[in-house]
């Protein structure tokens, strides 16, 4: 890997982008959408006091959505587009190596994607200030956004080197991004529901049948023969039900970019409950790691008499022992991105053994 040549490749790519009008139009549209989003959100959240943390996290998630939508167009035709324009071969006959070409294009696509984050940055700052969020949240969420843009850039460049036609590689990049965002959600839901286990629920309740005829517990003036509520006996009943096993498929959801973003951002809790969308999503994903207990018991009898034997654990407490899933997901994504890049490099190697069908090499 020669830095001088790598820089030259990146320079060629970026110079073309900077000089194309379409690029600025895209950035402009992106900014307009963010302005609209931000002003609408301000208008909506001004109805209620508080809750502005939710608004901030929503804005960041939407920035992630928009960059995921834009990034494939920046990278999805990097290599095969050059081949179509006959600009790839003249570069390949120079001393630049195939890895330098593909990685240079990947870095260029990443840098172009970051331009969208730069446009989004003022909006993020405004949202943070308005939401009175902790600065740690914006730093981590920005880092994750930067990585996600890079992952999509790598997927796009890798696929563009593997697939012959630019439209198909751009479409495949979109499909892969869709698989990561929507597909993981569907696979998680269906997978969890498909893997069910039986659980037994044992509940203890006041035995209303033990109330003798003629007694009415709701009226205070009943005969002394009637038992008081506290004197009523308790009965136990149990029923069997099937529970989805999300604890077996939680890792699928971990690869979701939105989940990674939410889970990596430091959570905030108030009285054990999440106070923003990130913490809410993270709590949901983390609690999916918990396997359902084989038997759950519910003591309605004791509870109704005001004797709290066992406090329900708060969300914060319940997920305290779970593993953060974001680096599992990020690791998977980096593996996917790196693998596609490596595949792309091996398919672009010269002297070429085989050519993708329908390509002209020069």
């Amino acid at each position: 890997m020669n830095l001088h040549r790598l820089r030259t490749i990146i320079g060629i790519e970026l110079r073309q982008r900077v000089r194309s009008v379409g690029w600025y139009v895209l950035l402009g549209i992106f900014a307009v959408i963010l302005v609209a989003l931000l002003s609408l959100s301000f208008a909506a959240f001004s109805l209620t006091t508080g809750g502005s943390e939710w608004f901030f996290s929503l804005v960041i998630l939407l920035v992630l959505l928009l960059t995921l939508l834009v990034s494939p167009t920046l990278s999805g035709s990097a290599v095969n587009g050059d081949r179509d324009a006959a600009t790839l071969a003249p570069v390949q006959v120079t001393l630049v190596t195939t890895s330098e070409i593909v990685i240079g294009k990947f870095l260029a696509a990443w840098i172009s994607g970051l331009a969208f984050l730069v446009v989004a940055l003022p909006f993020l700052v405004v949202a943070t200030l308005a939401g009175e969020l902790n600065p740690g949240a914006i730093v981590t969420s920005l880092l994750i956004l930067i990585i996600e843009v890079g992952v999509v850039a790598a997927i796009g460049v890798g696929l563009s080197a593997v697939i012959a036609r630019p439209i198909f590689s751009v479409a495949s990049t979109y499909l892969l991004v869709a698989a990561l965002t929507v597909g993981t959600l569907i696979a998680f839901g269906l997978g969890g529901a498909a893997l069910r286990t039986q659980t037994t629920t044992i509940s203890r309740d006041v035995d209303w049948n033990a109330v003798p005829l003629g007694c009415d517990l709701s009226s205070p003036s009943t005969s002394p023969n009637c038992p008081s509520y506290d004197e009523l006996p308790c009965v136990e009943s149990s029923y069997v039900s099937e529970q989805p096993r999300f604890d077996r498929v939680w890792w699928i959801l971990a690869a979701n970019p939105f989940v990674i973003l939410a889970d990596a951002t430091p959570p905030t809790y108030e009285n054990g409950n999440p106070t923003d969308l990130f913490s809410q999503i993270a709590a949901g994903v983390r609690s999916a790691q918990l396997s359902p207990e084989e038997t759950t018991s519910y003591d309605g009898c004791t509870l109704s008499r005001g004797l709290n034997v066992d406090d329900y654990p708060s969300t914060e407490e319940r997920i305290a022992g779970t593993t953060p899933s974001w680096f599992v997901g990020l690791f998977f994504q980096l593996l996917l991105a790196g693998g596609l890049l490596a595949w792309g490099i091996s398919r672009t190697k010269t002297p070429a053994k085989r050519l993708p069908p329908g390509t002209r090499i020069a």
Binding site: I9, I12, Q92, V93, A362
Partner: protein, 368 residues
């Protein structure tokens, strides 16, 4: 075109690097683009690669340029195998593809600077090199124009400059003259001769055979993915050939009567010679026969002003080899046939003189 020094190799090696190709084959699925190619191109010489469209010239060029791996066979660029050591071969060779392939919105100068940097030149050296080459190919005035808006001929010149950016010792030029105006063609010819004079090896493919004829020292003929053996080329060159005879214009006499005079002076029937506009075309079996014929014409008192082969040496050999490669289909030669009024085989030659039907052809029809 300003002629400055092109500059030696940037990598300091000696200049004598030739091209050796032996038994190279390459197929794309069922299409056997290159079936059997063997030839040598020597340093200091311009070698022409001649063949019809689809004969595998560009595929061969791509393999030599280290972009495509041959299925079989050996190649050496200055002793280096472009398959096992592409980087080593790439230092030596400059490749000019048949289309420029310009990056959108990069200027001519930037194209050259970027390419030079990819050959490991520093930014300053790359700039100096780009300016020098732009002057060399006469694009100095268009240095700041986007390469994409250049005309075809200007793109060709830019592509040539790009191929020269690292002072390569071996040049692979794919149709370099197409799209060039006459002045640029002459400049290209002068430049190629000078590059060869510096000891570089130049392999040049072209359809414009008359154009090629003026610049090449050697020729490699390719038909249906195979190089044609030099013996067959030599045989083709000595076969019956049509000569153009022009008699001083005399408005009083028709070309028909001139044709009769010429036939009579040569002792042939009028059917054996043909009229092509103002000229008469006469087949001769070899050069000795042509000399004898010219002598008889002059002795007969005919005012001969022009007596020359109707087609150039390369074209003659090319058309002849092509005709024997595909006897049933006398298809048109590809590309413009050059300024010598050459027509497709079979359209102008009298039946008796057609190479395919000629009695003195010697070869057995085998291909190498």
């Amino acid at each position: 075109m300003a002629l400055g020094g092109v500059g030696g190799s940037l990598y300091g090696e000696a200049m004598d690097a030739g091209i050796d190709v032996a038994g190279v084959k390459r197929s794309f699925g069922a299409v056997h683009a290159v079936q059997q190619v063997t030839f040598t191109a020597l340093p200091g010489r311009v070698t022409g690669l001649v063949g019809p469209n689809g004969s595998g010239k560009t595929t061969l060029m791509l393999m030599l340029a280290s972009l495509l791996r041959p299925d079989e066979g050996e190649m050496r660029i200055g002793g280096i195998d472009p398959v096992s050591d592409p980087a080593g071969a790439r230092r030596l060779l400059g490749w000019m593809p048949d289309s420029l392939g310009a990056w959108p919105s990069l200027t001519s100068r930037e194209v050259l600077v970027a390419t030079a940097q990819l050959y490991d030149l520093s930014r300053e050296d790359a700039r100096a090199r780009a300016d020098h080459l732009l002057e060399l190919v006469d694009l100095g005035a268009l240095a700041a124009s986007p390469a994409r808006v250049l005309s075809r001929g200007q793109k060709q010149r830019l592509a040539l400059a790009r191929a020269l950016v690292h002072g390569p010792r071996v040049l692979l030029l794919d149709e370099p003259a197409s799209g060039l105006d006459p002045q640029a063609r002459i400049a290209l010819r002068v430049l190629l001769r000078r590059l060869a004079g510096e000891g570089r090896t130049i392999l040049i493919s072209s359809h414009v055979l008359s154009e090629l004829e003026e610049v090449v020292d050697d020729a490699v003929f390719m038909v249906d993915g195979r190089t044609v053996g030099t013996d067959r080329v030599a045989a083709a060159a000595t076969r019956v050939r049509v000569w153009r005879v022009r008699v001083a214009a005399d408005l009083a006499r028709s070309t028909e009567s001139v044709r009769g005079d010429i036939a009579a002076a040569l002792g042939r029937t009028a059917e054996e010679v043909r009229v092509d506009r103002r000229d008469v075309l006469v087949p001769f079996s070899d050069e000795a026969a042509a000399v004898a014929g010219l002598r008889s014409l002059v002795s007969a008192g005919l005012p001969i002003v022009e007596f020359a082969p109707a087609v150039g040496d390369l074209e003659h050999a090319f058309l002849d080899l092509r005709a024997e490669a595909s006897p049933p289909t006398p298809d048109l030669p590809d590309g413009p046939a050059g300024p010598r009024d050459a027509s497709p085989p079979g359209s102008w030659a009298p039946p008796a003189a057609h190479p395919v039907t000629d009695a003195d052809r010697t070869d057995d029809g085998s291909t190498s």
